[in-house]
Symmetry: C2
Subunit: 283 residues, 2 copies
Amino acid sequence: MRFVVALGGNALIKHGEKGSYSQQLRNAEATAKQIASLARKHRVVLTHGNGPQVGDLLLDEPDMPLHVLVAQSQGEIGYLLQDVLGDNRVKAATIVTRVEVSKRDPAFRRPTKPIGPFYKRKPTKFRSIEDAGRGYRRVVPSPNPLYIHESDAILSLMSKGIVPIACGGGGIPVSNGSGLNAVIDKDLAAELLARTVKAKRLVILTDVPCVYANYGTDIQEPVDYLSVKDARRWLRAGAFAEGSMKPKVEAAARFAEHGGKTIICALNDLTKALKGKAGTVIE
Amino acid sequence: MRFVVALGGNALIKHGEKGSYSQQLRNAEATAKQIASLARKHRVVLTHGNGPQVGDLLLDEPDMPLHVLVAQSQGEIGYLLQDVLGDNRVKAATIVTRVEVSKRDPAFRRPTKPIGPFYKRKPTKFRSIEDAGRGYRRVVPSPNPLYIHESDAILSLMSKGIVPIACGGGGIPVSNGSGLNAVIDKDLAAELLARTVKAKRLVILTDVPCVYANYGTDIQEPVDYLSVKDARRWLRAGAFAEGSMKPKVEAAARFAEHGGKTIICALNDLTKALKGKAGTVIE
């Protein structure tokens, strides 16, 4: 069977960590073991977030366009994942991936995705929003992914039994041959990737054990199964946090509408979740 | 026929340029056209230097290990090359590439490769050399490339008619699964790549039109053909500049010793050189 596995940004840099390379390597080890064990039995394509890494690059290279920083982060994180999978005797290779978006996507009129550091004063160089009490933060458009430019390359590796690492950070956003300063949601890109490689399963690894009903309230309850109808209803009701659980459930709903099955689970529960003993299934 | 084409660092950032992304894109355009025209008739693998880009990254991210910066530069430059080749209707995809070296390589006892910026005072954090009058510069080992970890992925793309962009910046130097703070010479890596993909031709694009006899003297003379015997003799006599023409001729000599033919020519002479009307042939 074909799987797409999506690693959250926290897979490599935990909240509060500085994220040195050796720390990222250590953080990746346990997850790599579980992915390797899956890849020995099935065809796997791996994708990943890049939030903390691209945040660091934004600080270090303020003059470089955001789409180039995404490309750099794909090189950096892809290398690390190739490395840890290789340690587990799984051949993997990173494909630098561009994802087409539309310049007419409404996201370009209304940038909503906060990236990078917090600023005390309102920055003048770019659009920003105020984050309650913590300062200002740059916001960029988060357009919908339309297609993957390097799909042939990804499929070619897959057919040779190599684990492609692709669409890192949601992919480099391009439109008609030009890079754009935007960030594609990595869960929505993972869903597009899953359809592109004709995967039957999408596994979204994150920092919570599953989807919750009434998350963050006194009556919070874990959900082990969600029908696509309920997922859509909850999404409409605004039940999930923006930029966190919402895009994951949206990705799962889209994938279900195309006949796929999604598992959302904690980073270290991959093996358990595949046996139905952890996480939330959406189909 | 199979070709490996190696782009010099100057292909994207000319001497004295700041190297903004749009400037790098413009610089790449003419070369991309010629590579695209070759790729429409033959199987091509593309590789490239990263000197100026990794120099910038060293300044921006002083705490990041050098091998990770090489990985970032592969993402950045690979993305750009995919982009300009795509503009010329050639499908290309970058493979983040690790190249094995030996920790016992004599280069680790005697680092010689200068990288990054010039410093007025002798830096204390890393080994440096004094560059006549211009200050101090960090030096790192430049070990011999032994094999390419991602060779299967590169061959797989090639077999599907996709131009692999691989071994950027000489490849990420690793030994027994660990990244090393070293820089592999990109011409020697290109030669290893050429043998790995069973190429018949290695084309090294650089900023001079050809190999010269007595380069930089009053009796300097262009050489259009060099036998491997003469190449070896001149190399022994120290006729070529370190880190410049020397590794190119060394790569060509090695490739000739394995039955291959190398062309060394100027960046914009690729098409002419393939017709035998420019550059130096070594075989």
